[in-house]
Symmetry: C3
Subunit: 366 residues, 3 copies
């Protein structure tokens, strides 16, 4: 499965320079790519002059517009306009998914009522429940379990150990990384009499008395619905809704160890970075970006195009388009000012005490 430099350029809609017939066997950093040899090369990613300084003479390289392949002594080059975008095209062409299982492994336990469309692959020890439907060309890894009645779209890639519970629906080209859990029960409990948390929410922090109560479970009858082109990271957890579905819109990408509570609705084309947590019943707009470790309280709304820096804790609704940071979340520029002022606060407090004394002396003089 190799591709020539010319094919690479054409597939990436980029300009070719030099030996288009070079067979590209992989990609490498400039210092490690070496020169092309025997008509083969690893393509060096040298999209800035600083990176290009490490290129070996005779290398094949991906370079940016404005760089001179002849001056760099290259054997061949693909010349791109937006380097980061070019990375998407290049890496897609060179990715072989680590040689994942083809066909249906004989050890898999597949319910007779399950429907696997054309070209679907199932790895060793996978368990596919009753009435499950797996789309064409979908690949299900080893040790995956998919519960009763779930529907997985075409060309899905479900990695090893993923748990998809019953009644989950996913669109086309779903990617789920290893050991993620989709459709676990929501965390929803109630006490016979109002609990301390309910009292605090109603009474602004005041509690009348504290009684011993046990938690009764609110079972999760809802499901999870994922759009098209959703990607879900390793060890992510997405709970099913109580009555309706927890939903993730098309094009949304979810990083490792993100937790999404029951009834949450997430819009389209969002990015949720590592270890984000979204509590039950909150709603996230379209194109929202939440940096690593952001937290979102339950039952709130985060508007379209909101961007939150890493570690932001969102306790209340956020209007569309806002850029936020901190705990509790505030506008990023406000937070930066607050942080500066806080760093100076110990000194200011000392100066303030001095000023109080000075003013007291002035008053005594008066």
């Amino acid at each position: 499965m190799t591709i020539t430099l010319a094919e690479l350029a054409r597939s990436m809609d980029a300009a070719l320079w030099g030996e288009g017939s070079l067979r590209i066997t992989g990609a490498a950093e400039p210092a490690e790519a070496g020169a092309a040899r025997d008509g083969q090369a690893r393509i060096a990613l040298a999209m800035t002059p600083a990176y290009a300084a490490d290129l070996a003479p005779g290398a094949a390289a991906l370079i940016a517009e404005g760089m001179d392949p002849a001056a760099l002594g290259l054997a061949g080059a693909v010349i791109v306009r937006r380097p980061r975008l070019a990375m998407a095209g290049l890496t897609r062409l060179l990715d072989n998914d680590g040689g994942m299982q083809q066909g249906i492994h004989p050890s898999a336990v597949i319910d007779p009522s399950a429907l696997l469309e054309e070209g679907a692959a199932v790895g060793p020890f996978a368990v596919i429940g009753a009435d499950v439907r797996i789309g064409a060309q979908a690949r299900i890894g080893a040790h995956v379990s998919i519960g009763q009645g779930s529907m997985i779209g075409a060309q899905a890639l479900i990695r090893e150990g993923v748990r998809i519970a019953h009644g989950v629906t996913a669109g086309a080209r779903l990617i789920v990384h290893a050991n993620a859990v989709i459709g676990s029960d929501g965390f929803s409990f109630v006490t016979p009499e109002p609990s301390g948390v309910e009292e605090i929410r109603a009474g602004l922090g005041q509690r009348e008395h504290i009684s011993e109560q046990h938690w009764l479970r609110i079972h999760s009858l809802g499901s999870v619905v994922l759009g098209d082109d959703v990607e879900i990271g390793a060890n992510v957890t997405i709970d099913r809704g109580t009555i309706r579905a927890t939903t993730v819109g098309s094009g949304t990408k979810i990083d490792n160890q993100v937790q999404i509570g029951h009834n949450v609705r997430i819009g389209r084309d969002c990015l949720l970075c590592g270890q984000v947590g979204i509590a039950g019943s909150s709603r996230i707009g379209d194109r929202v970006v939440l940096g690593g470790k952001c937290g979102v309280s339950d039952n709130i709304f985060v508007g379209d195009d909101v961007i939150a820096g890493g570690g932001t804790n969102i306790y209340t609704n956020v209007p569309a388009g806002r850029v936020i940071l901190g705990s509790p979340a505030t506008r990023m520029e406000t937070q930066v000012e607050m942080n500066k002022a806080l760093r100076r606060l110990p000194r200011m407090a000392a100066q303030f005490a001095e000023l109080q004394k000075t003013v007291t002396r002035l008053m005594q003089k008066d």
Copy 2:
């Protein structure tokens, strides 16, 4: 497995109104439930007048005391006093656990010395170790592993991919969601000479010199003991103790991606929300509620009935009954005031600088 509206009302200890013979096939939001048809209905959850506005005429609904089923045009209704509590009863009655495996799947690897009590079910590819005991009616999902000598109580529900290590003891009605890990080794290391962390703890942040040292492992010989009615979320991790057991009291519910360190002792009827982390050897009282992403340092004590808002970092002991927020944790009302003051701090700092100048001028006049 359907139930009539009358049976539902009776099971929930609630009032029935209208056609008790309607067969209830599920639950739905008011806008989606539709009217009863052919003697069947999905019951609409319409426990506030606002929700009830979306009801179709002829629907079956769960409504709150004080609402008028005739005026809402219902075919039948169950009328409840505390709606959130009613959700527990209703959803329990309608939950079928997604059609989980009955009986013992032939692919499971069960040590001959393991004891499965009456009605216990074991899913495909489960691995049950030597001397394990599984209680009556317990259900063990696909791909679960249970290590040597562990004891799981009656009516447990252990979801797919859960890892229960050796020597773990759990009471009745344990629920563990997919891919959780119970009984992993504690994170406990020591250097031959005192480490930087030990120096800082002893010397308040001062370090004499920094030496290169390797970490030696303190192995975990202890176990994990879980009470009755414990629920553990997806991808949770609970480490075993070093010598004694890490313990979780009866009735405590643990949400997804919570991390509980070695030797931790958690009381009864606690709620630990998503992504909470509790470091080694800390003790949590009874009925403690920790919101999402709360962190608890090692070797501290959180008293009974403490409630912590989401994202609270607890570095020191917390007295019983306190409601806390922030990082470091402070009383919730104090934290709210601190947050307000901090937001105004940049402006106050500017005003303070002005005031300093003014006072300087006043002094010069003097």
Copy 3:
């Protein structure tokens, strides 16, 4: 598999006192160890006088230098200089790993091209891919999957449900706890035109306009390289690099639920505590200790010997040797002062308003 008290003392390079022939069957807290009986005992961990107060007469105990075994009424004792260090030796000697699988279980699916060196054990339902190499005496648990071409060093211990993707390289004595994922794809996306996040980074929080764009995936062609003596906790996730490898240096220990992004490079002998997250392409020096829940932004550098308290969010480079705390991270002593000043800020703000009035009155008098 028992050991005598004398053998224990010798193995731990510690002093023996009393009956060296006692057979030690395990370890226990002083109150639970009881007296030796029939030549057998559980060794009590009584390394401070306070703990020793709970010892039964006739017990076998681990005590610290300076304590008197005769006065404590012991049958036998091992006397150690640095008790915490002694715990490493003692627990290692008494750990039997919960009776893990020996040999190769017949249900495992092992590619014919995989090489298992002498004494390697493989548990039930494990899946070992093409060209995998497993070192001598390594133990692979049930339900583990190891992808094509990965190399695991000698004496590794890979617990149940661990996912090691293709092309991962690990040194000797690797320990990985249950359900961890090593080598998942990085979280790396690009939009056709610059995205909101790129605009903010370039323009300090200002966004010109917001356009609808879809995320294109940058595939991960790189790998993961782990040194010797690395330990990785339960449900950890470590992403593979984009082109080069994500690396973890020898002797580094990683606690449960830690997330390590693509291209991250971690030095030697670090401790990363529970729920730490490190974003893509950041570099962590040697002997760095990150407390629970610390976050590290992408593309930054944390110097050698840095120690960060729990919950620290690191947004910018940190010089070597610094001890930090807070969000954003500041020197620990500065953070402690800031926290104190912030607690007093609401009162100071009220006093400041008073002082403003006072000065205004003084000026009016003038």
